[in-house]
């Protein structure tokens, strides 16, 4: 890698840093409960939750497992599952 003039950096390049490895818990959706309100997407600090068709799906390559989505979901449709290490 050659360094750039004045350390100027291209936009959006942290995508190479998959932060999924940070988490110990993973959000798991029960789509029966989910009413599609999108609160989980709004309050995800990593913006990893995105609508896929009519379902909200977390991008597990980047999800750090903070659990805000589960805590804020008005329908209790998301539970945090301990991931095997």
């Amino acid at each position: 890698m050659k360094i750039t003039h004045a350390a100027i950096v291209e936009p959006g390049t942290t995508l190479v840093n998959k932060t999924g490895g940070w988490r110990t818990f993973r959000p798991e959706y029960d789509y029966e409960q989910c009413n599609g309100c999108g609160i989980c997407e709004t309050y995800c600090p990593e913006s990893v939750i995105a609508k896929n068709g009519d379902r909200y799906v977390p991008d597990l390559d980047y999800c750090k497992g903070c659990g805000i989505c589960a805590n804020e979901c008005p329908k209790g449709a998301i539970t945090m599952i301990l991931e095997g290490k």
């Binding site: 360094i3 003039h5 004045a6 350390a7 100027i8 950096v9 291209e10 936009p11």
Partner: protein, 397 residues
Amino acid sequence: MDRENMAVVDGAYAVAHAVKVCKPDVVAAYPITPQTNIVEHISHFIADGEMDDVSINVESEHSAMSLLVGAGSVGARAYSATASQGLVLMSEVLFNVSGMRLPIVMTVVNRAMSAPLSIWNDHQDSISQRDAGWIQLYAEDVQEAADMTAQAFRIAESRNVLLPVMVCMDGFILSHVYEPVVLLEDDLIDRFLRGYSPVAVLDPDDPKTFGAFADPNTYTEFRYLQEMAMRNAVPEIEDAASEFQEIFGRYQGGLIEEYMTEDAEILILAMGSVVGTIKEVIPGMRAKGVNVGLIKIRSFRPFPAEAIKKAVADAGVIVALDKNISIGLGEGALLTETKSIICNSSIQTPVIGFMLGHGGRDITEARIEQIIMETSEVMKRGITVESRYADLKEELL
């Protein structure tokens, strides 16, 4: 010099006028004696419509230079001016500007550092910032301070340099002196300055990130590229001076300027306005059979090591005059750095130094003559004192 194109003006006016002619997009400066006349003249140019409304009255020198970081990063040609305490208040930003490779030009109206407070001239301020990564040029007189401003933009903005430049002129001695100068010609400038085209700018249509942090894996290489840019400035400073001469007809040296150095046994190295006084003294000394010459150091950063070594090769003794002191080393920077470039070279010439003119103490012709005579003793009896004050008042101690 063509008298009919000359006008008798104060030094600050000549520099402010030069800034106007160079058409900066943004000017940000905070008032500090003895720089104030420069910013005032610029304000009047704007108020009278002679200059676009580019100037911002900021709340501190730190903010003046910070504002120019913003302006420079969107591609604006940026100018500031300061002195002493103001320069050192900016110090954090000076390093930042050089690291971000922003070609900002700033006049430093050299003034002593507090404490004790002093509004008078010496070089302690700009010398203390010599490692901030700015090119530092020193003007001998008002004409040079003005002409050097245009050359500073040219050097700073050349693509293989892209480093900020300080144009250093002695406070009061040059900033407040009235003397005849040729004001920078507005009709010629566009042949000399071809505009600043940055490598990248902050632009929503092409977003970039400026000012990321570098961990140990890359930091050194950024510093190295700054050093390479500074080395690229060496030929640029010479080219800027010679091309300026072609277009404007004036030349006062490139990296250095040699004055009556042919067959000189004693060579004086000096920077700033004292150069003029030395030029007055040399002919008289020569008439008395004292072979003395002067090397004006015009560029202190990049330090013109090769040019100096070439110029001093046959000297019997070298004496450096310093309006600054590195406390704890007991000598000025010009002496230290001259010794350092000579020590591994084939040059065996003894090098001594005198500190003088600190805090605005006047440097008389007699003082220069005294220095020359004491220096010539070295050729006979060798070095007794390598560095000392030439104008210390023992009676005050």
